[in-house]
């Protein structure tokens, strides 16, 4: 009997919700389903997917990172300033710098959470403001502008790798998907990555099992920071013009995407592929809403919240239904359990 794993089941439910949302908007908005929509969403998902992936790593360990948006903003600015100062910098070095800056911020968060024992929501709430203020200070109110960036960087997000009809697969999107898959493989295939799940699943047991819980949490924050740093570089490449508000609000978007993607907010369960689909869903809803005449500007945020809420609820209900079906089927298929004899 082929058995669908719970993880696959969750992704299936999510894809169903995604299709439902798409179908709903297709019925509401003229000229909606076309290649252009894919191009639009894929381009902006490239950034959100990375931070959703970062947030997932942290949430898996029963923590949360509210400073990711500030890290994206700072890295976007920092790498922008760097490449402005050193225009001939090798792309790989620039990417390395982005990872490094982000990982540095993650290290601060991780040390405070794991070793000082301060709850992550407090730590990152504070560092969100601190990192952002540091950016204000560092930037000296100057913006990074597109023309100071090297051409390869500006061209990167929209570089068309291949196309199927009008559906374009652009470099940033493809790169983000590749990174997400890479992280996914690492999480599922690398043995040390299991520690993330173990720590989030049962911290006490992890300690007892001899896992270094603090180092695991630290690693999660550092990795999340590095991914957010990379997202910052993507942000720089895409928008070119970087002010101190860059990446504002991304922390909440990343949480929404991760939770929609089936990452358990209480830690221990979830996949980054789920978070990727969650990011697509958030973006789809957002992009569709701004094209929907029925919803006025002032209600858009509320409707967005409502739709995310109903998507999460719908997903949870669907999940429960599918699970019950599976249990029924298992029961029907399984032999009657043998009763113990004393």
């Amino acid at each position: 009997m082929t058995r669908v794993s719970p993880g696959a089941l969750r992704l299936l439910a999510l894809v169903l919700v995604l299709l439902l949302v798409g179908a709903f908007f297709a019925s509401q908005i003229e000229n909606y389903l076309n290649a252009r929509l894919f191009n639009r969403i894929s381009s902006s998902v490239a950034i959100v997917a990375l931070i959703a992936c970062a947030q997932t790593l942290v949430i898996l360990t029963r923590n949360i990172d509210l400073s990711l948006g500030a890290v994206v903003g700072f890295t976007a600015y920092g790498t922008g300033a760097l490449v402005t100062a050193v225009p001939d910098l090798h792309p790989a070095l620039l990417a390395l710098a982005a990872l490094g800056i982000g990982a540095g911020f993650g290290l601060v968060n991780g040390l405070l959470v794991a070793y000082a024992g301060v709850p992550s929501i407090i730590v990152t709430l504070a560092t969100m403001a601190i990192f952002r203020s540091a950016l204000v200070e560092f930037s000296d109110a100057q913006s990074i502008t597109t023309d100071s960036l090297p051409d390869w960087l500006v061209a990167f997000p929209n570089l068309q790798l291949f196309a199927i009809g009008g559906v374009q697969f652009r470099a940033a999107f493809v790169a983000a998907v590749v990174i997400v898959i890479f992280v996914h493989l690492a999480l599922t295939r690398l043995r040390p990555a299991r520690a993330l799940y173990a720590v989030g699943s049962n911290p006490e047991a992890a300690e007892m099992a001899g896992i270094d819980v603090r180092r695991t949490v630290l690693a999660a924050f550092v990795a999340a920071g590095a991914l957010a740093g990379l997202a910052g570089l993507f942000f720089l490449a895409r928008f070119g013009n970087i002010t101190v508000v860059a990446g504002l609000g991304f922390e909440l978007k990343s949480i929404a995407a991760a939770v929609l993607g089936g990452v358990n907010i209480f830690g221990g369960a979830g996949t980054v592929v789920g978070a990727l689909i969650g990011a697509i869903l958030v973006d789809l809803i957002e992009n569709s809403l701004v094209r929907w005449d029925l919803v006025s500007e002032f209600w858009r945020e509320a409707v967005l919240g409502l739709l995310i809420l109903s998507a999460v609820t719908g997903d949870a209900l669907l999940m429960r239904r599918l699970q019950r079906l599976r249990i029924r089927r298992d029961k029907a298929a399984a032999p009657v359990p043998k009763e113990a004899t004393p």
Partner: protein, 500 residues
């Protein structure tokens, strides 16, 4: 064998002003099952924590193979071959069996090879004589299976000393037997097994030697053949225990308080029928999986019945919520003190008045602290709750005292029917007797009690009648006079069925 594999030498441990262990000495030799018994609060947990490196001794030392060592934490203890499994297993609910077993393995390479993992998991599980699918997710495992996973995990790390802390407290009789067999098997392989249990009868079945501790001190260590249960209990409590196994006469009156006919909850149990009289104790016996707790949950309105009729004092009622149950006068003292029973971080007095806040409120909706204290003090005396003061968080009390606080909470609702779910699980002999006394006192004063217990001596000691269930079905009702452990077990295991 020149030296014990693990030894405590004159170990003392203090927490602030409290002395948890004083001058404890214990030697563990390869190949033995070494039982450690003592009342709750005797220092067993502290001793385990020192052996597993969670705590460092205040004075004295730990030796491995005769050499003094400092254990910095569970990780180092594991590296030296010392592992522990607990009453509540430490598994990762989101990971599968194989991953759980090898979570901290270091010799399996960086990349996870499913095939290898699965195969080695199977080997280990087979080694302890169980069969478990390595791909199953741990959250779906029974307690016994989770413990098996933990034992397999310890084995995967070349365990030399395995500490089992109350491993059978939550297991059915059959499962407990399996576990004892595993313990003996591991000892036969040369592992030193420390076996901690409140079930004296199983200690006689499993242990080679037994150590009694009391008030943080070592009392005795003897080969099992030289010990009797009476002597062991006397040493544990330091006094004669009166009526633990004695059943006093029934106080049942002819008045039927609750009557249940053909009660059922979908996917849980069906066809349960019984009467409870005022002054009566009805025990629900059965193995784990008999769905006895589901009966209690449905009578308390947490999982309302989907079939059958419930009559309260002759009136047909529907119990759709705990609120409805409480309004009738039904209270439920749950099995899981942590999850359903107590708010552990809250103070004792807040817990006592949790279900009856209305009574200690002023007209303006404010708490009357003095009233709350008075109520708490009353129960402290009546139930003999040992506590520093009423503001201590409940989480700091011993299991027996927690149980009493929970009982106080429900007695405060002035119930007529008290449902007890495993009221004495994990609490020591002395406290057990006290809880039994309280239940008897309650029914003597005109209440009725429904007691779910997996402890057969307890069932026989308490029950005026014993209802036995098996896999969601009522197997029969035995009056106290006709009840024997064997008779109950035969029904519970389905070898026999009551003619009635």
């Amino acid at each position: 064998m020149a030296a014990p594999v693990l030894a405590l030498r004159d170990v003392s441990k203090s927490f602030g002003a409290t002395r948890a262990l004083s001058g404890m000495t214990l030697e563990l030799w390869p190949g033995e099952v070494h039982a450690v018994v003592g009342e709750n609060g005797a220092g067993k947990s502290t001793m385990i924590k020192i052996m597993t490196g969670v705590h460092a001794p205040s004075t004295g030392g730990v030796e491995v193979d005769g050499r003094p060592v400092t254990l910095s934490g569970p990780r180092e203890a594991r590296a030296k071959g010392v592992s522990a499994i607990y009453q509540e297993p430490m598994v990762f609910p989101d990971l599968d069996v194989a991953e759980n077993i090898f979570i901290s393995a270091t010799d399996l390479g960086l990349v996870q090879r499913r095939g290898l993992l699965r195969e080695r998991a199977r080997e280990l599980i087979a080694r302890i004589g169980m069969s478990l699918d390595p791909d199953r997710v741990a959250s779906g495992l029974t307690l016994a299976e989770q413990q098996a996973v933990e034992i397999a995990r310890a084995l995967s790390q070349d365990v030399r000393v395995l500490i089992m802390d109350e491993p059978t407290a939550s297991l059915s009789a059959h499962e407990a037997g399996e576990l004892r067999r595993i313990a003996r098997g591991l000892a036969a392989e040369g592992v030193a097994v420390v076996y901690i249990s409140h079930r004296l009868e199983e200690i006689f079945e499993v242990a080679h030697r037994v150590t009694v501790i009391r008030d943080g001190s070592h009392i005795s260590t003897r080969p099992i053949a030289e010990v009797t249960p009476e002597r062991m209990i006397a040493e544990m409590v330091g006094r004669e225990v009166g009526n633990y196994f004695r059943k006093d006469e029934s106080h049942a009156t002819p008045e039927v308080l609750l009557s249940v006919r053909g009660l059922g909850v979908e996917d849980a149990f069906e066809g349960v029928s019984f009467d409870i009289h005022r002054g009566e104790v009805l025990c629900l016996a059965g193995l784990i999986g008999a769905r006895r707790t589901d009966v209690a949950l449905s009578l308390f309105g947490i999982r309302p019945a989907t079939a059958g009729r419930v009559l309260w004092k002759g009136q047909e009622v529907r119990i759709g919520s705990p609120r409805a149950a409480m309004a009738l006068g039904i209270a439920y003292v749950s099995e899981d003190r942590r999850k359903l029973g107590l708010a552990l971080p809250l103070s004792i007095r807040s817990n006592v008045t949790l279900a009856t806040l209305g009574k200690v409120l002023t007209r303006w909706g404010l708490m009357r602290e003095r009233a709350e204290r008075a109520v708490t003090q009353g129960y402290r005396e009546r139930l003999n709750i040992r506590m520093a003061d009423a503001d201590t968080p409940v989480g700091k009390l011993s299991g027996g005292n927690q149980q009493k606080v929970m009982l106080a909470k429900w007695l405060e609702t002035n119930p007529q029917l008290l449902i007890f779910d495993e009221p004495t699980r994990g609490i020591d002999v002395g406290a057990k007797a006290e809880v039994h006394d309280l239940i008897r006192q309650f029914v003597r004063q005109g209440g009725a009690a429904l007691v779910i217990s997996s402890d057969l001596p307890e069932v026989l000691a308490l029950g005026d009648r014993i209802l036995v269930m098996r896999e969601g079905r009522q197997m029969g009702v035995i009056p106290h006079e006709a009840a024997t452990q064997e008779g109950v077990m035969r029904l519970a295991t389905g070898q026999d069925r009551d003619a009635a």
